[in-house]
């Protein structure tokens, strides 16, 4: 039985402390709302991250692996992936998956919001790029993105508050190849501080961004947003795993049941509930919160909860060069990107496009992994050290991040067998890479190989599709029609007027760029709306 240890009911209960939860907590607290946030993970600090240690690559393959199914900490919940071409990955902790992200900071393009109108696929968003642009601006100012203004891909584009990072040998080599073909490229925008900014220290190029920044330079939201939210009065409860959103007698959300580190159950109440648990965790929680009033899952009258999972399939080509590019050096982070083939051209036989990103390639373990693609005698045996030497520091990782069209058969459900460490049903991912995505990736690999050839590469290693993806989108989609969507254009669920969703679940399409900027902008937009509409907002109690 749940203990009722909270007497004062906060105005807002937020579930999840990643980018979107952090933004909403900070915004609402700053405007005088009382806010409690439940986070299943813990705080982490820079000294925990392995980037300074010689065995960094080994620790990144286990304790600090991006995949929770490999990392297997008690805070992480497992995801059942036997029927999934790609494993959805995430990190449970204050700051959420931004603790381990690469900080690639990209805005979607205006056409991404209108794919149905323009291309006859997917659905249009109930808002436009222009409506979201001021919120992109605001979150970029708060995050401290570093880059160069003026990317000709955007009419009304980013104006990063911090100057760019050096693009290094990696960026210069790739840029020369793209430039020689007359193709678009731009110095990358990264959520990594190039100068001291708020609580962030300047990047010193450890190059280990995706195992946590040991320097405190990467703009993870535990550093950029949580200190302000806490100062403004938000109460953050860590080690709190929510198992159900609760309702009052009128069907309004009135709190959440959660288990603490010792497995004791608590009922945290809230006059309004905001889900910020990511594109897997949010549908999981809605499905776990079924009740006689909502037998198919909370706010799931449309049947869309969990459906339209988008993960951004990727391909990668690692190109090897004669010159020493010092490609073990950070930030990693992207050096440059290209949007040359981003827009849909249906004559290519598929809809959507992709961002290309050029990033460093890490150390010798990655080189061995790549060489192993060519067989035993490439990675091992006489001369192995020379072959590793030819790759380490001499290579560029060219990545293709594909626009992933929504498909209702790609979905999150509750697994009947797998449980988390608290015995709660784990999410199950059913995800197949679509024919559209396969064609898209094949086209882009062909074009990318042209650019790589033009950049003077000696040889390449090609990886046709990724096995994991941290871009979790689409599973509680936004729309004007309650029959076909879960939330309205502000993130408020159609069926429960005081239940709001602010993470990547709400994205109707995912574009072909890293989604954190868009998730963050949407969360700020939703929070701004909640503040402005508070007088009329329905609440529990």
């Amino acid at each position: 039985m749940a203990s009722s240890d909270v007497e004062e009911i906060p105005d807002v209960l937020i579930i999840g402390s990643g980018p979107s939860g952090a933004i909403v907590a900070g915004e609402l607290s700053a405007h005088g709302f009382s806010v409690v946030c439940l986070e299943q993970g813990e705080w982490h600090n820079n000294d925990e991250f392995p980037g300074r240690q010689p065995e960094w690559e080994l620790l990144g393959a286990n304790k600090w692996h991006r995949d929770q199914n490999i990392r297997r900490t008690p805070s992480d919940y497992p995801v059942e992936v036997s029927q999934s071409d790609i494993t959805p990955i995430m990190f449970a902790g204050v700051g959420g998956s931004s603790v381990l992200y690469g900080g690639h900071w990209m805005r979607m393009l205006p056409s991404d919001f209108r794919m149905h109108s323009l291309d006859g696929v997917a659905t249009d968003w109930p808002l436009t790029y222009d409506e979201l642009a001021p919120f992109y601006d605001a979150v970029e100012s708060a995050v401290g993105t570093a880059g160069v203004p003026g990317d000709p891909a955007y009419l009304r584009g980013p104006n990063p508050p911090l100057p760019p990072h050096p693009i290094g040998g990696v960026g210069r080599t790739a840029a020369r190849g793209l430039a020689s073909l007359g193709w678009h490229w731009w110095p990358a925008s990264n959520a990594i501080a190039s100068q001291r900014f708020g609580g962030l220290t300047p990047c010193v190029r450890w190059g280990t961004c995706e195992t946590g920044c040991p320097e405190g330079a990467k703009a993870s939201f535990d550093l950029t947003h949580w200190p302000k939210a806490l100062n403004a009065g938000t109460r953050l409860v860590t080690g709190a795993r929510v198992r159900q959103v609760t309702l009052d007698s009128r069907g309004r959300a009135d709190g959440a049941l959660y288990l603490d580190r010792l497995g004791r159950e608590h009922h945290q109440r809230g006059r309004m509930v905001v889900l910020a648990a990511n594109g897997v965790g949010t549908p999981r929680l809605l499905l776990l919160s079924s009740s006689p009033r909502f037998p198919d899952g909370l706010a799931n009258g449309s049947g869309m909860v969990g459906k339209r999972l988008m993960l951004h399939p990727t391909s990668a080509i690692t190109a090897v060069y004669e010159e020493d590019l010092k490609s073990w050096m950070g930030p990693a982070g992207q050096a440059i990107y290209s949007l040359q083939f981003y827009e849909t051209d249906l004559n290519r036989g598929f809809a959507g496009g992709a961002k290309w990103e050029c990033v460093p390639t890490g150390g010798p373990m990655r080189a061995v992994e790549l060489l192993s693609q060519d067989g035993f005698d490439s990675a091992w045996g006489p001369g192995a050290q020379d072959r590793v030497r030819s790759v380490v520091g001499h290579s560029v990782h060219w990545g293709i991040l594909a626009n992933d069209l929504p498909d209702e058969s790609n979905r999150i459900t509750l697994d009947p067998v797998l449980k988390d460490s608290d015995g709660i049903a784990a999410p199950r991912s059913n995800y197949r890479i679509s024919e559209n995505s396969q064609r898209l990736l094949a086209f882009h690999r062909e074009k990318m190989n042209q650019a790589i050839s033009a950049s003077g590469a000696l040889r390449t290693f090609e990886e046709s599709t990724s096995v994991e993806a941290g871009h979790l989108m689409g599973t509680a989609t936004m729309g004007d029609d309650p029959e076909t969507s879960v939330v309205d254009k502000w993130g408020v669920t159609h069926e429960v007027p005081n239940l709001c969703i602010v993470d990547g679940s709400v994205m109707p399409t995912g574009g072909g760029v890293n989604p954190t900027a868009t998730i963050a902008a949407l969360a700020l937009r939703a929070a701004t709306h909640l503040v402005s509409q508070a007088r009329w907002q329905e609440v529990s109690g």
Binding site: R52, P54, E55, E57, L58, L59, A61, N62, L109, P110, S111, R114, L118, T128, Y129, D130, V148, G150, P152, A153, Y154, L155, P164, H165, P166, I167, R172, A175, R176, A179, G182, H184, P187, S194, P202, V204, R205, W206, G207, E215, W328, M329, G330, L339, E343, G363, P364, M365, V368, S372, F376, W380, G381, P382, A384, Q385, V388, R389, V392, G393
Partner: protein
């Protein structure tokens, strides 16, 4: 020395390393540069999850036909081969002398100079800025 492996297992481990990363020229043998197994211990701490399997795999190796066995494992038993690969390559390429040979200094703290970013873009940015518009304008 390590308490994780018996002397017999250590001998097999070093013999495997002689096959996978054989010494040549300036590249030393693993048994030479990690005679005390200090670097092996670091790898074992980082990948403690794999140590029990390493012990099993080493016990199943035949010292008289290591290369053939390793080639067969690479083709047919990749999971166990990767266990050996993690410990052999993980240890070998962790050692400073070997890192010098392969030109890898490790991940370093390298603050950029104030002008480095601008200098690196100086001869490139004009071309990027003048790229023709290829993106779709959306009617509002």
């Amino acid at each position: 020395m390590t308490e994780l492996l018996s002397q017999e297992q250590i001998n097999v481990f070093w013999a495997i390393a002689d096959v996978l990363v054989p010494p040549s020229g300036s590249a030393p043998a693993l048994r030479e540069v990690d005679a005390e197994l200090a670097w092996f211990e670091r790898v074992a701490a980082a990948r403690a999850d794999l140590v029990p399997r390493l012990q099993v795999v080493l016990a199943g190796m035949d010292p008289d036909r290591l290369e053939a066995q390793l080639r067969s494992m690479f083709d047919n038993d990749r999971v166990d081969f990767e266990v050996l690969a993690v410990f052999v390559a993980g240890t070998y390429y962790l050692i400073p002398e070997v890192r010098t040979v392969i030109g890898y200094p490790g991940q370093l703290r390298l603050p950029p100079s104030q002008d480095e970013a601008i200098d690196q873009l100086e001869d490139l940015i004009d071309q990027a800025s003048s790229h023709q518009w290829i993106f779709r304008t959306i009617p509002s």
